[in-house]
């Protein structure tokens, strides 16, 4: 027999196989834990709230009686807030990312800004609420209005949009720029004809995901004084407002058991909106993502 260093050792091998099985079991358990808890939550919300979820629920205002309570004001409030947030955060966010990626000189100051953008994305939303309260509500005297809420929300999701757009722009290969430059294109022409078409799917995916974070956002809007009971349709951006998660929160904090069910019904509506938005993001990413 040759003098081998590595010899098949039955005992040692079966020990390794056992350890492999153990690791697999552990990771499966970790996955199952999350999924089971989530499934339980969804089942509970659906069984609890489905009884209240009908057309009347979607088209009625809040009420003191649970059977009359509806979510119309909250849905409209969310739509109003988003109609401010979407254009403001997209224009500012995409503009910022284009400047940082394409025009800004690559120096220490730019790096400092980029680092802090990433940090801003992690700042708790209550802090953005405080900022909105100080600047928009008080200093600029917008009051507790849709405008103040929409702008606060824009600030909140702006860093996420900027970071996502920067990623999308950065993933465009250098060769694409060279091709356009070599034909005498200016930077702006390249941004318009090469960068934006290629980065749009990535930008949209990031924007939709951060907007869906915004739709579920509660703390910052509570901070600037969104209402919890509203019985009219907003007619302009300076009206008061409520949004879905705040409405749900206010129902859930009532003592009556029936309102817990109403809150669950509201949660179903919110969940459906979020699932639709996230699916849209996935569809856009899969359909338009470019391979070079």
């Amino acid at each position: 027999m040759k003098n081998k260093v590595v010899v098949a050792n039955e005992k040692q091998i079966s020990k390794r196989i056992t350890r492999n099985k153990l690791a697999k079991g552990l990771f499966l358990a970790a996955t199952l834990f999350g999924m089971i808890v989530l499934a339980t939550l969804i089942v509970r919300i659906v069984t609890q709230g489905i009884g209240y979820l009908d057309f009347g629920f979607l088209t009625s205002y809040a009420s003191r009686r649970p059977e009359d309570a509806g979510i119309k004001a909250a849905i409209l409030g969310t739509v109003w807030i988003m109609s401010i947030t979407i254009p403001v955060s997209l224009i500012l966010g995409v503009g910022t990312s284009i400047y940082l990626e394409e025009y800004a000189p690559k120096n220490k100051f730019t790096r400092f800004i980029e680092l802090n953008l990433a940090n801003l994305a992690g700042v708790p939303s209550v802090v953005f609420g405080l900022l909105g309260l100080t600047v928009f509500v008080r200093l600029l005297e917008m009051g507790r209005s849709i405008l103040a809420g929409g702008l606060t929300m824009s600030l909140l999701i702006l860093p996420v949009i900027v970071v996502a757009s920067k990623e999308a722009i950065r993933s465009i290969p250098q060769e694409q720029y060279e091709a356009a430059y070599a034909m005498g294109a200016t930077k702006w022409q390249i941004i318009r004809t090469v960068v934006l078409p290629a980065a749009t799917p990535g930008i949209l995916t990031g924007a939709i995901l951060s907007l869906s974070r915004g739709v579920g956002e509660t703390a910052s809007l509570l901070m600037i004084g969104a209402m919890t009971f509203i019985a009219y349709t907003p007619t302009g951006v300076l009206d008061g407002f409520t949004v879905l998660p705040i409405q749900i929160f206010s129902w859930a904090s009532r003592p009556q058991v029936e309102f817990q069910a109403v809150a669950a019904a509201g949660s179903i509506v919110l969940l459906i909106i979020l699932i639709v938005m996230n699916s849209l993001a996935i569809v856009i990413r899969n359909k338009y993502s470019k391979r070079y």
Binding site: K106, P173, E175, Q176, Y177, E178, A179, A180, Y181, A182, M183, G184, A185, T186, Q189, T193, V194, P197, A198, K290, R291, Y292
Partner: protein, 255 residues
């Protein structure tokens, strides 16, 4: 050099130096590049040949730390005093790796004319057909102009990139190792094309492949460590190099 020929120079480079930060990449380059000929630039990796060709259309300025000294005249005008956009309209470029845009074949070719302001559909149609014919690609793609350019083979993509450069109607075409990512058959097609193109264009081609330089070029410049060691008619250089280092490189002793 080569005063016996009465060809005009399209580029005349004088005492040109280039630094990437602290690295001295091009040293005292002086060269007259003749019109409507194929000039090959050969030399080992890192000798500055790609850098040199990229200075001719000022693409090298995309690298932030670049500093230059000396002059490059294109058709008698200092390229530094020309707007880059107009210089690059006159001087097209084809890159190492085919780099079509993720657009249709038609839109790839029409890209250049469009950025220069041509909107008329009929004119664009004509330019697209003419350019694709010029790059010997028309017969292969005329029935699928609206398909994505990524559906073409690597060799077709590279000829598409040549057609795209032709569409801007340049005087000079710079080629930076245009066949290094292609198989031998596609390489042969591109080489045939280069042979055709030199009737109407001045071509400067960087190549790693010395046989290629011998096959396609009229003149060859040998670069080593950022200097031009020798520049002469290709035949003469390959049969009877003046410099020992050229001889060593051509005969495969290094590089």
């Amino acid at each position: 050099m080569n005063k016996e020929e009465n060809k005009q120079s399209v580029y005349s480079v004088k005492d040109f130096n280039l630094w990437y930060g602290e690295t001295h990449a091009l040293k005292d380059i002086s060269i007259e590049i003749p019109e409507k000929e194929v000039v090959a630039i050969i030399g080992p990796s890192g000798c500055g040949k790609s850098t040199f060709i990229k200075t001719l259309n000022r693409m090298v300025e995309l690298v932030p730390s670049v500093k230059t000294k000396g002059s490059i005249n294109y058709e008698g005008k200092d390229i530094k005093k020309t707007k880059v956009e107009s210089l690059r309209t006159e001087v097209g470029m084809v890159f190492q790796k085919p780099n079509p845009f993720p657009k249709s074949i038609y839109d790839n070719i029409a890209y250049g004319p469009r950025i220069h302001g041509i909107k008329d559909k009929k004119t664009l149609d004509e330019v697209v057909e003419k350019s694709l014919k010029g790059a010997a690609l028309w017969e292969e793609v005329k029935d699928r102009l609206n398909e994505n350019a990524f559906g073409l083979s690597g060799g077709q993509q590279q000829r598409l990139c040549i057609a795209r450069a032709l569409a801007v109607e340049p005087e000079v075409i710079l080629m930076d190792e245009p066949t290094s990512a292609l198989d031998p058959l596609s390489t042969a097609k591109v080489e045939d094309l280069i042979h055709e193109l030199k009737k109407n264009y001045s071509i400067i081609i960087v190549t790693h492949n010395m046989q290629q330089a011998a096959r396609i070029s009229d003149k060859t410049a040998f670069f080593l460590d950022g200097e031009i060691i020798e520049f002469d008619a290709t035949e003469k250089m390959y049969s009877n190099p003046r410099d020992k280092r050229t001889d060593d490189y051509i005969s495969g002793k290094f590089g």
